[in-house]
Protein backbone atom coordinates (compact mmCIF):
# COMPACT_ATOMS: atom_id res chain seq x y z
CA UNK A 1 0.00 0.00 0.00
CA UNK A 2 1.15 3.50 -0.74
CA UNK A 3 2.73 5.28 2.20
CA UNK A 4 5.07 8.16 2.89
CA UNK A 5 8.55 7.33 4.10
CA UNK A 6 11.48 9.35 5.34
CA UNK A 7 14.29 7.56 3.54
CA UNK A 8 18.02 7.83 4.00
CA UNK A 9 19.89 8.61 0.81
CA UNK A 10 22.65 6.05 0.31
CA UNK A 11 23.99 7.43 -2.93
CA UNK A 12 23.22 10.29 -5.28
CA UNK A 13 25.74 10.52 -8.06
CA UNK A 14 26.16 11.78 -11.59
CA UNK A 15 26.13 9.02 -14.21
CA UNK A 16 26.19 11.15 -17.35
CA UNK A 17 26.05 14.69 -18.59
CA UNK A 18 22.71 15.50 -17.01
CA UNK A 19 21.87 12.12 -15.56
CA UNK A 20 21.92 11.09 -11.93
CA UNK A 21 21.29 7.96 -9.94
CA UNK A 22 19.87 8.06 -6.42
CA UNK A 23 19.72 5.07 -4.12
CA UNK A 24 17.74 5.32 -0.88
CA UNK A 25 16.75 2.91 1.85
CA UNK A 26 13.08 1.97 1.57
CA UNK A 27 12.44 -1.67 2.51
CA UNK A 28 8.67 -1.53 2.17
CA UNK A 29 8.71 0.14 -1.23
CA UNK A 30 11.37 -2.32 -2.41
CA UNK A 31 9.22 -5.22 -1.25
CA UNK A 32 6.00 -4.05 -2.83
CA UNK A 33 6.86 -2.33 -6.08
CA UNK A 34 6.72 -3.67 -9.59
CA UNK A 35 8.40 -2.53 -12.78
CA UNK A 36 6.71 0.54 -14.18
CA UNK A 37 5.52 1.87 -10.84
CA UNK A 38 6.87 5.14 -9.52
CA UNK A 39 7.87 7.03 -6.40
CA UNK A 40 6.95 10.65 -5.64
CA UNK A 41 9.77 12.68 -4.06
CA UNK A 42 9.83 16.02 -2.32
CA UNK A 43 12.66 18.11 -3.76
CA UNK A 44 13.52 19.92 -0.52
CA UNK A 45 11.76 20.63 2.76
CA UNK A 46 10.88 24.18 1.64
CA UNK A 47 7.82 25.37 -0.30
CA UNK A 48 9.77 26.22 -3.43
CA UNK A 49 9.88 24.10 -5.55
CA UNK A 50 6.47 23.25 -4.19
CA UNK A 51 5.29 19.98 -5.69
CA UNK A 52 6.69 16.47 -5.46
CA UNK A 53 8.43 14.98 -8.50
CA UNK A 54 7.52 11.54 -9.86
CA UNK A 55 10.28 9.06 -10.81
CA UNK A 56 9.99 5.58 -12.25
CA UNK A 57 11.61 2.98 -10.07
CA UNK A 58 14.83 2.08 -11.85
CA UNK A 59 15.95 -0.90 -9.83
CA UNK A 60 15.52 -2.31 -6.39
CA UNK A 61 17.56 -4.53 -4.22
CA UNK A 62 16.09 -5.99 -1.03
CA UNK A 63 15.68 -2.85 1.06
CA UNK A 64 17.01 -0.29 -1.40
CA UNK A 65 15.27 1.60 -4.17
CA UNK A 66 17.09 3.21 -7.05
CA UNK A 67 15.95 5.99 -9.36
CA UNK A 68 17.69 7.19 -12.52
CA UNK A 69 16.83 10.73 -13.50
CA UNK A 70 17.69 13.61 -15.76
CA UNK A 71 17.96 17.14 -14.47
CA UNK A 72 15.41 19.09 -16.51
CA UNK A 73 14.29 21.90 -14.22
CA UNK A 74 14.41 23.47 -10.80
CA UNK A 75 12.99 20.46 -8.97
CA UNK A 76 15.34 17.85 -10.36
CA UNK A 77 18.25 20.29 -9.93
CA UNK A 78 17.43 20.46 -6.21
CA UNK A 79 17.17 16.68 -5.97
CA UNK A 80 20.55 16.31 -7.68
CA UNK A 81 22.09 18.45 -4.91
CA UNK A 82 20.97 16.09 -2.14
CA UNK A 83 23.80 14.18 -0.49
CA UNK A 84 24.23 10.66 0.83
CA UNK A 85 23.20 10.50 4.47
CA UNK A 86 20.41 13.07 4.06
CA UNK A 87 16.75 12.18 4.40
CA UNK A 88 14.39 12.31 1.44
CA UNK A 89 10.59 12.32 1.70
CA UNK A 90 9.28 9.54 -0.56
CA UNK A 91 5.71 8.53 -1.35
CA UNK A 92 5.23 5.16 -2.98
CA UNK A 93 4.96 2.78 -4.62
CA UNK A 94 2.44 4.47 -6.92
CA UNK A 95 0.58 3.66 -10.11
CA UNK A 96 0.07 0.61 -12.28
CA UNK A 97 3.21 -1.01 -13.64
CA UNK A 98 3.95 -3.19 -16.65
CA UNK A 99 1.95 -6.36 -16.99
CA UNK A 100 3.87 -9.42 -18.13
CA UNK A 101 1.18 -11.43 -19.90
CA UNK A 102 0.15 -14.74 -18.33
CA UNK A 103 1.93 -17.60 -19.97
CA UNK A 104 4.24 -14.98 -21.36
CA UNK A 105 7.38 -16.87 -20.33
CA UNK A 106 7.80 -18.18 -23.83
CA UNK A 107 6.69 -15.18 -25.75
CA UNK A 108 8.92 -12.57 -27.27
CA UNK A 109 9.54 -9.37 -25.40
CA UNK A 110 10.88 -6.23 -26.97
CA UNK A 111 11.74 -3.35 -24.68
CA UNK A 112 12.08 0.09 -26.21
CA UNK A 113 13.66 2.88 -24.24
CA UNK A 114 14.16 6.45 -25.40
CA UNK A 115 16.45 8.78 -23.47
CA UNK A 116 15.75 8.72 -19.74
CA UNK A 117 12.93 6.28 -20.58
CA UNK A 118 15.45 3.51 -19.87
CA UNK A 119 14.82 4.02 -16.14
CA UNK A 120 11.87 1.64 -15.61
CA UNK A 121 12.98 -0.75 -18.36
CA UNK A 122 15.96 -2.03 -16.41
CA UNK A 123 13.66 -3.19 -13.63
CA UNK A 124 11.29 -4.66 -16.20
CA UNK A 125 14.13 -6.63 -17.83
CA UNK A 126 15.04 -8.01 -14.42
CA UNK A 127 11.42 -8.93 -13.75
CA UNK A 128 11.07 -10.73 -17.08
CA UNK A 129 14.33 -12.56 -16.39
CA UNK A 130 12.93 -13.75 -13.08
CA UNK A 131 9.75 -14.99 -14.72
CA UNK A 132 11.81 -16.89 -17.27
CA UNK A 133 13.98 -18.49 -14.63
CA UNK A 134 10.95 -20.41 -13.49
CA UNK A 135 10.21 -23.78 -15.05
CA UNK A 136 7.83 -24.10 -17.93
CA UNK A 137 4.55 -25.51 -16.68
CA UNK A 138 4.17 -27.63 -19.80
CA UNK A 139 7.55 -29.27 -20.24
CA UNK A 140 9.23 -28.39 -16.92
CA UNK A 141 12.34 -27.14 -18.68
CA UNK A 142 13.74 -23.84 -17.55
CA UNK A 143 12.00 -21.29 -19.68
CA UNK A 144 15.00 -19.13 -20.44
CA UNK A 145 16.83 -22.11 -21.93
CA UNK A 146 13.94 -22.94 -24.21
CA UNK A 147 13.39 -19.39 -25.25
CA UNK A 148 17.06 -18.80 -25.88
CA UNK A 149 17.33 -21.86 -28.04
CA UNK A 150 14.74 -20.24 -30.25
CA UNK A 151 16.37 -16.87 -30.30
CA UNK A 152 13.78 -15.55 -27.94
CA UNK A 153 16.01 -13.53 -25.69
CA UNK A 154 14.56 -10.34 -24.40
CA UNK A 155 15.42 -7.73 -26.94
CA UNK A 156 16.12 -4.18 -25.82
CA UNK A 157 16.25 -1.24 -28.18
CA UNK A 158 17.80 1.86 -26.66
CA UNK A 159 17.53 5.23 -28.32
CA UNK A 160 19.56 8.31 -27.49
CA UNK A 161 20.60 11.54 -29.16
CA UNK A 162 24.29 10.68 -29.02
CA UNK A 163 26.57 7.94 -27.73
CA UNK A 164 27.29 10.12 -24.70
CA UNK A 165 23.66 10.05 -23.61
CA UNK A 166 23.33 6.31 -23.92
CA UNK A 167 22.40 4.68 -20.62
CA UNK A 168 22.15 1.24 -19.05
CA UNK A 169 23.51 -0.92 -21.89
CA UNK A 170 25.51 -2.92 -19.35
CA UNK A 171 22.59 -3.42 -16.99
CA UNK A 172 20.42 -4.88 -19.74
CA UNK A 173 23.19 -7.22 -20.87
CA UNK A 174 23.60 -8.37 -17.29
CA UNK A 175 19.94 -9.40 -17.32
CA UNK A 176 20.67 -11.53 -20.37
CA UNK A 177 19.05 -9.19 -22.88
CA UNK A 178 20.07 -8.70 -26.44
CA UNK A 179 20.73 -4.98 -26.77
CA UNK A 180 20.53 -2.84 -29.90
CA UNK A 181 21.29 0.83 -29.95
CA UNK A 182 20.11 3.74 -32.06
CA UNK A 183 21.65 7.19 -31.90
CA UNK A 184 20.29 10.17 -33.77
CA UNK A 185 23.76 11.31 -34.82
CA UNK A 186 24.98 7.82 -35.58
CA UNK A 187 27.78 7.99 -33.01
CA UNK A 188 26.87 4.47 -31.97
CA UNK A 189 24.78 1.67 -33.43
CA UNK A 190 21.95 2.36 -35.83
CA UNK A 191 21.83 5.93 -37.11
CA UNK A 192 18.34 7.26 -36.62
CA UNK A 193 15.38 6.94 -34.31
CA UNK A 194 14.83 3.95 -32.08
CA UNK A 195 11.39 3.56 -33.63
CA UNK A 196 13.02 3.05 -37.04
CA UNK A 197 15.16 0.40 -35.45
CA UNK A 198 12.00 -1.19 -34.08
CA UNK A 199 10.42 -1.39 -37.51
CA UNK A 200 13.55 -2.93 -38.93
CA UNK A 201 13.67 -5.34 -36.05
CA UNK A 202 10.07 -6.45 -36.56
CA UNK A 203 10.39 -7.06 -40.27
CA UNK A 204 13.55 -9.11 -39.84
CA UNK A 205 12.59 -10.86 -36.65
CA UNK A 206 8.98 -11.75 -37.12
CA UNK A 207 9.61 -15.08 -38.83
CA UNK A 208 8.36 -18.13 -36.88
CA UNK A 209 11.00 -20.18 -35.05
CA UNK A 210 13.09 -22.50 -37.22
CA UNK A 211 12.01 -25.64 -35.43
CA UNK A 212 9.42 -26.45 -32.82
CA UNK A 213 10.12 -28.14 -29.55
CA UNK A 214 7.96 -30.78 -27.92
CA UNK A 215 6.75 -28.23 -25.47
CA UNK A 216 3.04 -27.67 -25.87
CA UNK A 217 3.15 -24.02 -25.04
CA UNK A 218 5.64 -23.53 -27.85
CA UNK A 219 3.74 -25.47 -30.47
CA UNK A 220 0.60 -23.62 -29.53
CA UNK A 221 2.20 -20.70 -31.16
CA UNK A 222 2.94 -18.58 -28.16
CA UNK A 223 6.44 -18.02 -29.47
CA UNK A 224 4.90 -16.02 -32.21
CA UNK A 225 3.28 -13.84 -29.63
CA UNK A 226 5.27 -10.72 -28.94
CA UNK A 227 4.75 -8.07 -26.33
CA UNK A 228 6.31 -4.67 -26.69
CA UNK A 229 7.06 -2.45 -23.71
CA UNK A 230 8.09 1.16 -24.17
CA UNK A 231 9.07 4.24 -22.21
CA UNK A 232 10.38 7.50 -23.60
CA UNK A 233 9.31 10.81 -25.10
CA UNK A 234 5.67 11.13 -26.14
CA UNK A 235 6.54 11.36 -29.85
CA UNK A 236 8.43 8.09 -29.59
CA UNK A 237 5.58 6.36 -27.77
CA UNK A 238 3.13 7.62 -30.35
CA UNK A 239 5.28 6.10 -33.12
CA UNK A 240 5.58 2.85 -31.17
CA UNK A 241 1.79 2.77 -30.94
CA UNK A 242 1.40 3.27 -34.70
CA UNK A 243 4.00 0.64 -35.58
CA UNK A 244 2.65 -1.97 -33.19
CA UNK A 245 -0.86 -1.32 -34.45
CA UNK A 246 0.36 -1.94 -37.98
CA UNK A 247 1.94 -5.27 -37.00
CA UNK A 248 -0.91 -6.09 -34.63
CA UNK A 249 1.38 -6.53 -31.63
CA UNK A 250 0.19 -5.65 -28.13
CA UNK A 251 2.20 -2.80 -26.65
CA UNK A 252 2.40 -1.24 -23.23
CA UNK A 253 3.63 2.32 -22.92
CA UNK A 254 4.68 4.26 -19.84
CA UNK A 255 3.44 7.85 -20.03
CA UNK A 256 4.48 11.05 -18.32
CA UNK A 257 2.46 14.15 -17.52
CA UNK A 258 2.79 17.12 -15.16
CA UNK A 259 1.66 15.76 -11.83
CA UNK A 260 0.63 17.16 -8.46
CA UNK A 261 -0.85 14.73 -5.92
CA UNK A 262 0.27 11.39 -7.39
CA UNK A 263 -2.67 9.56 -5.81
CA UNK A 264 -5.58 10.31 -8.12
CA UNK A 265 -7.12 13.20 -6.20
CA UNK A 266 -6.27 16.34 -8.17
CA UNK A 267 -7.04 15.21 -11.75
CA UNK A 268 -4.01 17.11 -13.01
CA UNK A 269 -2.17 14.36 -14.89
CA UNK A 270 -4.98 13.33 -17.18
CA UNK A 271 -4.46 11.55 -20.46
CA UNK A 272 -7.04 11.20 -23.21
CA UNK A 273 -8.04 7.60 -23.81
CA UNK A 274 -10.69 5.85 -25.86
CA UNK A 275 -12.66 5.50 -22.60
CA UNK A 276 -12.43 9.15 -21.57
CA UNK A 277 -9.75 10.80 -19.51
CA UNK A 278 -7.60 8.59 -17.33
CA UNK A 279 -4.97 9.58 -14.80
CA UNK A 280 -1.29 8.87 -15.35
CA UNK A 281 -0.69 8.62 -11.58
CA UNK A 282 -3.47 6.20 -10.74
CA UNK A 283 -4.64 4.40 -13.91
CA UNK A 284 -1.09 4.49 -15.36
CA UNK A 285 1.68 5.37 -15.86
CA UNK A 286 1.62 2.20 -17.97
CA UNK A 287 -1.25 1.97 -20.46
CA UNK A 288 -2.02 -0.25 -23.41
CA UNK A 289 -0.86 1.70 -26.43
CA UNK A 290 -4.10 1.11 -28.35
CA UNK A 291 -6.10 2.70 -25.53
CA UNK A 292 -4.46 6.12 -25.82
CA UNK A 293 -5.83 8.91 -27.99
CA UNK A 294 -2.61 10.49 -29.25
CA UNK A 295 -2.33 14.19 -29.80
CA UNK A 296 -2.60 13.92 -33.60
CA UNK A 297 -5.90 12.10 -33.19
CA UNK A 298 -7.60 14.79 -31.10
CA UNK A 299 -10.88 15.77 -32.70
CA UNK A 300 -11.12 19.47 -33.49
CA UNK A 301 -13.14 21.21 -30.83
CA UNK A 302 -12.71 18.41 -28.33
Amino acid sequence: MVQIFKCRILENSRVGQNYFRMIFAAPQIARESRAGQFVHLRCTTSIDPLLRRPFSIHRMDRDKVEILYRVIGRGTAEIAKRKAGEIVDVMGPLGQGFEIPKGGEHSRAILIAGGIGVAPMVMLAEEIKKVRESKCLQCSDVTSEITESFGQRVRVLIGAKTKKELLCEKEFKKSGCEVKVATQDGSKGFKGLVTELLEQSLTTHNAPPARLADCQSLTRGSTRRTTIYACGPKEMLMKVAKITQKYNIPAQVSLEENMACGIGACYGCSVKTKNGYKLVCKDGPVFNADEIVWKDEYQPGS
Binding site: R42, C261, A265, Y267, S270, Y277
Partner: protein, 298 residues
Protein backbone atom coordinates in the same frame (compact mmCIF):
# COMPACT_ATOMS: atom_id res chain seq x y z
CA UNK B 1 -17.46 20.95 13.55
CA UNK B 2 -15.10 19.74 16.19
CA UNK B 3 -12.21 21.73 14.80
CA UNK B 4 -11.97 24.60 12.30
CA UNK B 5 -9.85 22.91 9.65
CA UNK B 6 -11.35 21.44 6.49
CA UNK B 7 -10.08 20.51 3.07
CA UNK B 8 -10.58 22.88 0.16
CA UNK B 9 -12.82 21.77 -2.69
CA UNK B 10 -11.07 20.23 -5.66
CA UNK B 11 -7.95 19.22 -3.77
CA UNK B 12 -9.37 16.26 -1.91
CA UNK B 13 -11.56 14.57 -4.52
CA UNK B 14 -14.22 12.74 -2.46
CA UNK B 15 -11.89 11.75 0.36
CA UNK B 16 -11.15 8.13 -0.54
CA UNK B 17 -7.53 8.70 -1.64
CA UNK B 18 -6.66 10.54 1.58
CA UNK B 19 -8.40 7.98 3.76
CA UNK B 20 -5.40 5.77 3.01
CA UNK B 21 -3.15 8.27 4.78
CA UNK B 22 -5.14 9.30 7.87
CA UNK B 23 -8.44 8.80 9.64
CA UNK B 24 -10.80 11.20 7.88
CA UNK B 25 -12.74 11.58 11.14
CA UNK B 26 -10.03 14.02 12.17
CA UNK B 27 -11.19 16.58 9.58
CA UNK B 28 -13.27 19.50 10.81
CA UNK B 29 -15.31 19.02 7.65
CA UNK B 30 -14.84 17.53 4.22
CA UNK B 31 -15.58 19.69 1.20
CA UNK B 32 -16.09 17.59 -1.93
CA UNK B 33 -14.75 18.22 -5.38
CA UNK B 34 -17.25 20.43 -7.20
CA UNK B 35 -20.06 18.49 -8.81
CA UNK B 36 -22.24 19.63 -11.67
CA UNK B 37 -25.67 18.56 -12.90
CA UNK B 38 -24.21 16.48 -15.72
CA UNK B 39 -20.81 14.82 -15.72
CA UNK B 40 -17.94 16.89 -17.09
CA UNK B 41 -14.95 15.54 -18.94
CA UNK B 42 -12.61 18.37 -18.00
CA UNK B 43 -9.97 20.17 -20.05
CA UNK B 44 -7.29 18.82 -22.37
CA UNK B 45 -3.83 18.28 -20.87
CA UNK B 46 -1.52 19.78 -19.84
CA UNK B 47 -3.74 20.80 -16.97
CA UNK B 48 -1.25 21.76 -14.30
CA UNK B 49 2.07 23.54 -14.05
CA UNK B 50 4.26 24.46 -11.12
CA UNK B 51 5.14 28.12 -10.60
CA UNK B 52 7.30 29.70 -7.87
CA UNK B 53 5.73 28.55 -4.56
CA UNK B 54 2.53 27.74 -6.35
CA UNK B 55 0.79 25.86 -9.12
CA UNK B 56 -1.55 26.64 -11.98
CA UNK B 57 -4.44 24.33 -12.77
CA UNK B 58 -7.01 24.11 -15.49
CA UNK B 59 -8.71 20.84 -14.59
CA UNK B 60 -12.06 22.09 -15.87
CA UNK B 61 -14.27 20.66 -13.12
CA UNK B 62 -13.94 17.05 -14.28
CA UNK B 63 -16.57 15.23 -12.19
CA UNK B 64 -19.03 12.35 -12.49
CA UNK B 65 -22.18 14.51 -12.24
CA UNK B 66 -24.66 14.68 -9.37
CA UNK B 67 -26.40 11.37 -10.05
CA UNK B 68 -23.19 9.31 -9.97
CA UNK B 69 -21.97 11.37 -7.02
CA UNK B 70 -25.01 10.44 -4.95
CA UNK B 71 -24.81 6.80 -5.99
CA UNK B 72 -21.09 6.17 -5.77
CA UNK B 73 -19.50 8.79 -3.53
CA UNK B 74 -22.12 9.77 -0.98
CA UNK B 75 -22.30 6.39 0.83
CA UNK B 76 -18.56 6.58 1.58
CA UNK B 77 -18.80 10.20 2.72
CA UNK B 78 -21.80 9.47 4.94
CA UNK B 79 -19.92 6.71 6.73
CA UNK B 80 -17.02 8.94 7.82
CA UNK B 81 -19.20 10.67 10.39
CA UNK B 82 -18.04 14.26 9.91
CA UNK B 83 -19.77 17.28 8.37
CA UNK B 84 -19.79 16.89 4.59
CA UNK B 85 -19.99 20.04 2.51
CA UNK B 86 -20.97 19.40 -1.09
CA UNK B 87 -19.45 21.85 -3.55
CA UNK B 88 -21.66 22.53 -6.58
CA UNK B 89 -21.48 24.62 -9.73
CA UNK B 90 -23.76 25.46 -12.63
CA UNK B 91 -23.58 27.53 -15.78
CA UNK B 92 -27.13 28.88 -15.68
CA UNK B 93 -29.57 29.74 -12.87
CA UNK B 94 -31.77 26.80 -13.83
CA UNK B 95 -28.82 24.46 -13.68
CA UNK B 96 -27.94 25.68 -10.18
CA UNK B 97 -31.43 25.15 -8.83
CA UNK B 98 -31.88 21.79 -10.56
CA UNK B 99 -28.59 20.61 -9.10
CA UNK B 100 -29.39 21.74 -5.57
CA UNK B 101 -32.82 20.12 -5.83
CA UNK B 102 -31.10 16.79 -6.48
CA UNK B 103 -29.42 17.07 -3.08
CA UNK B 104 -32.69 17.64 -1.24
CA UNK B 105 -33.09 15.42 1.79
CA UNK B 106 -29.84 13.54 1.16
CA UNK B 107 -28.60 12.15 4.45
CA UNK B 108 -25.07 13.04 5.47
CA UNK B 109 -24.86 16.45 3.81
CA UNK B 110 -24.25 19.29 6.27
CA UNK B 111 -23.99 22.23 3.90
CA UNK B 112 -23.67 23.22 0.27
CA UNK B 113 -20.82 25.31 -1.06
CA UNK B 114 -21.68 27.31 -4.16
CA UNK B 115 -18.61 27.40 -6.33
CA UNK B 116 -19.46 30.55 -8.22
CA UNK B 117 -15.78 31.25 -8.78
CA UNK B 118 -14.18 28.42 -10.73
CA UNK B 119 -11.95 30.06 -13.33
CA UNK B 120 -12.44 27.03 -15.57
CA UNK B 121 -16.20 27.36 -15.78
CA UNK B 122 -18.02 30.40 -17.03
CA UNK B 123 -21.62 31.44 -16.59
CA UNK B 124 -24.02 31.25 -19.45
CA UNK B 125 -26.69 33.93 -19.21
CA UNK B 126 -27.87 37.07 -20.89
CA UNK B 127 -24.93 38.86 -19.39
CA UNK B 128 -21.49 39.22 -20.87
CA UNK B 129 -19.94 35.86 -21.59
CA UNK B 130 -16.81 34.44 -20.12
CA UNK B 131 -17.18 35.80 -16.65
CA UNK B 132 -17.79 33.93 -13.45
CA UNK B 133 -20.93 34.51 -11.39
CA UNK B 134 -18.67 35.81 -8.63
CA UNK B 135 -17.31 38.56 -10.88
CA UNK B 136 -20.70 40.25 -10.94
CA UNK B 137 -22.49 41.39 -7.78
CA UNK B 138 -25.96 41.13 -9.34
CA UNK B 139 -25.32 37.64 -10.70
CA UNK B 140 -23.96 36.59 -7.30
CA UNK B 141 -27.02 37.94 -5.52
CA UNK B 142 -29.36 36.29 -8.00
CA UNK B 143 -27.81 32.84 -7.87
CA UNK B 144 -27.55 32.81 -4.08
CA UNK B 145 -31.15 34.01 -3.69
CA UNK B 146 -32.48 31.44 -6.17
CA UNK B 147 -30.60 28.59 -4.51
CA UNK B 148 -31.60 29.87 -1.06
CA UNK B 149 -35.23 29.49 -2.06
CA UNK B 150 -34.60 25.98 -3.35
CA UNK B 151 -32.86 24.39 -0.37
CA UNK B 152 -32.80 24.36 3.41
CA UNK B 153 -29.15 23.37 3.62
CA UNK B 154 -26.81 26.01 5.00
CA UNK B 155 -25.18 27.82 2.05
CA UNK B 156 -21.51 28.68 1.81
CA UNK B 157 -20.63 30.92 -1.11
CA UNK B 158 -17.11 30.65 -2.50
CA UNK B 159 -15.69 33.87 -3.88
CA UNK B 160 -13.13 34.64 -6.54
CA UNK B 161 -10.20 36.98 -5.93
CA UNK B 162 -10.36 38.04 -9.58
CA UNK B 163 -12.46 41.15 -8.89
CA UNK B 164 -11.91 44.85 -8.32
CA UNK B 165 -13.62 44.96 -4.92
CA UNK B 166 -14.39 41.68 -3.24
CA UNK B 167 -16.45 43.31 -0.47
CA UNK B 168 -19.14 44.27 -3.01
CA UNK B 169 -19.51 40.62 -4.06
CA UNK B 170 -19.40 39.41 -0.45
CA UNK B 171 -22.20 41.79 0.51
CA UNK B 172 -24.26 40.59 -2.47
CA UNK B 173 -23.83 37.00 -1.32
CA UNK B 174 -24.88 37.93 2.22
CA UNK B 175 -27.90 39.80 0.92
CA UNK B 176 -28.85 36.82 -1.24
CA UNK B 177 -29.02 34.65 1.88
CA UNK B 178 -25.59 33.08 2.25
CA UNK B 179 -24.85 31.57 5.67
CA UNK B 180 -21.10 31.79 5.24
CA UNK B 181 -18.50 32.87 2.72
CA UNK B 182 -15.43 30.92 1.72
CA UNK B 183 -12.50 32.68 0.10
CA UNK B 184 -10.41 32.73 -1.92
CA UNK B 185 -10.71 30.56 -5.00
CA UNK B 186 -7.67 30.51 -7.29
CA UNK B 187 -6.10 33.60 -8.81
CA UNK B 188 -6.20 33.67 -12.62
CA UNK B 189 -2.78 33.16 -14.08
CA UNK B 190 -0.80 31.96 -17.08
CA UNK B 191 2.48 30.29 -17.88
CA UNK B 192 4.41 30.53 -21.14
CA UNK B 193 6.88 28.05 -22.60
CA UNK B 194 9.71 30.02 -24.18
CA UNK B 195 11.15 27.07 -26.10
CA UNK B 196 7.82 26.20 -27.70
CA UNK B 197 6.70 29.85 -27.84
CA UNK B 198 3.31 28.71 -26.59
CA UNK B 199 1.18 28.76 -23.45
CA UNK B 200 1.99 25.87 -21.12
CA UNK B 201 -1.61 24.96 -20.31
CA UNK B 202 -3.84 23.76 -23.11
CA UNK B 203 -6.57 26.01 -21.70
CA UNK B 204 -4.01 28.88 -21.87
CA UNK B 205 -5.00 30.35 -18.50
CA UNK B 206 -5.55 28.60 -15.20
CA UNK B 207 -6.04 29.12 -11.49
CA UNK B 208 -3.03 29.84 -9.30
CA UNK B 209 -2.95 28.27 -5.84
CA UNK B 210 -0.41 27.52 -3.14
CA UNK B 211 1.70 29.69 -0.82
CA UNK B 212 2.22 32.22 -3.63
CA UNK B 213 -1.35 33.51 -3.17
CA UNK B 214 -1.44 33.60 0.64
CA UNK B 215 -0.90 37.37 1.00
CA UNK B 216 -3.72 38.05 -1.47
CA UNK B 217 -6.02 35.69 0.41
CA UNK B 218 -5.21 37.20 3.81
CA UNK B 219 -5.87 40.68 2.51
CA UNK B 220 -9.24 39.67 1.07
CA UNK B 221 -10.32 37.79 4.21
CA UNK B 222 -9.46 40.89 6.20
CA UNK B 223 -11.44 43.16 3.85
CA UNK B 224 -14.49 40.88 3.74
CA UNK B 225 -14.48 40.30 7.51
CA UNK B 226 -14.91 44.05 7.93
CA UNK B 227 -17.72 44.19 5.37
CA UNK B 228 -20.09 41.32 6.26
CA UNK B 229 -21.57 39.76 9.41
CA UNK B 230 -21.64 36.11 8.30
CA UNK B 231 -18.71 33.83 9.18
CA UNK B 232 -15.79 33.33 6.81
CA UNK B 233 -13.84 30.26 5.81
CA UNK B 234 -10.37 31.43 4.86
CA UNK B 235 -8.12 29.68 2.39
CA UNK B 236 -5.31 30.32 -0.05
CA UNK B 237 -1.85 28.85 0.36
CA UNK B 238 -2.19 27.42 3.86
CA UNK B 239 0.69 24.99 4.42
CA UNK B 240 1.12 25.09 8.20
CA UNK B 241 -0.74 25.74 11.45
CA UNK B 242 0.92 29.12 11.53
CA UNK B 243 -0.63 30.00 8.16
CA UNK B 244 -4.03 28.78 9.40
CA UNK B 245 -3.81 30.90 12.55
CA UNK B 246 -2.90 33.95 10.48
CA UNK B 247 -6.17 33.50 8.58
CA UNK B 248 -8.07 33.27 11.88
CA UNK B 249 -6.46 36.52 12.98
CA UNK B 250 -7.40 38.18 9.72
CA UNK B 251 -11.04 37.35 10.39
CA UNK B 252 -11.76 33.76 9.36
CA UNK B 253 -13.82 31.51 11.65
CA UNK B 254 -12.52 28.40 9.95
CA UNK B 255 -9.90 27.55 7.35
CA UNK B 256 -9.53 25.22 4.41
CA UNK B 257 -6.33 23.54 3.26
CA UNK B 258 -5.96 22.90 -0.45
CA UNK B 259 -2.78 22.60 -2.47
CA UNK B 260 -0.81 21.51 0.61
CA UNK B 261 -2.65 18.16 0.46
CA UNK B 262 -0.81 17.39 -2.78
CA UNK B 263 2.57 17.80 -1.15
CA UNK B 264 1.70 16.12 2.13
CA UNK B 265 -1.50 14.05 2.23
CA UNK B 266 -1.35 14.07 6.04
CA UNK B 267 -1.01 17.84 6.35
CA UNK B 268 -4.53 18.51 7.69
CA UNK B 269 -4.33 16.34 10.84
CA UNK B 270 -0.84 17.75 11.41
CA UNK B 271 -2.16 21.32 11.20
CA UNK B 272 -4.99 20.47 13.61
CA UNK B 273 -2.52 19.07 16.15
CA UNK B 274 -0.25 22.11 15.86
CA UNK B 275 -3.18 24.51 16.32
CA UNK B 276 -4.18 22.64 19.49
CA UNK B 277 -0.64 22.97 20.83
CA UNK B 278 -0.61 26.66 20.05
CA UNK B 279 -3.91 27.27 21.83
CA UNK B 280 -2.81 25.36 24.92
CA UNK B 281 0.55 27.09 25.02
CA UNK B 282 -1.05 30.51 24.70
CA UNK B 283 -3.95 29.70 27.03
CA UNK B 284 -6.60 30.48 24.43
CA UNK B 285 -9.88 28.73 25.20
CA UNK B 286 -11.91 29.99 22.25
CA UNK B 287 -10.18 29.99 18.89
CA UNK B 288 -12.60 32.61 17.57
CA UNK B 289 -11.27 35.07 20.12
CA UNK B 290 -8.18 35.22 17.94
CA UNK B 291 -8.54 38.56 16.21
CA UNK B 292 -6.04 41.15 15.13
CA UNK B 293 -5.56 43.65 17.94
CA UNK B 294 -7.33 41.57 20.59
CA UNK B 295 -4.26 40.42 22.44
CA UNK B 296 -0.55 40.69 22.13
CA UNK B 297 0.56 37.79 20.01
CA UNK B 298 4.20 36.87 20.24
Amino acid sequence: MKNPVMCASGTFNFGEEYGKFFDLKKLGALVTKTITLKSREGNLPPRIYETPSGMLNSIGLQNPGVEMFLKEKMPFLRKIGIPVIVSVAGETLDEWTALVRELKGVRGISAIELNISCPNMKMRSGRARSTMFSQDADATFEVVRKVRKTTNFPLIVKLSPNVTDITVIAKAAQKGGADAISLINTVLGMAVNLEKRAPVLDAITGGLSGPAIKPIALRMVWEVSNAVKIPLIGMGGIMTARDALEFMLAGASAVAVGTANFINPRVIPQIIEEIKKYLVKNKISNINSLKIGTAPIL
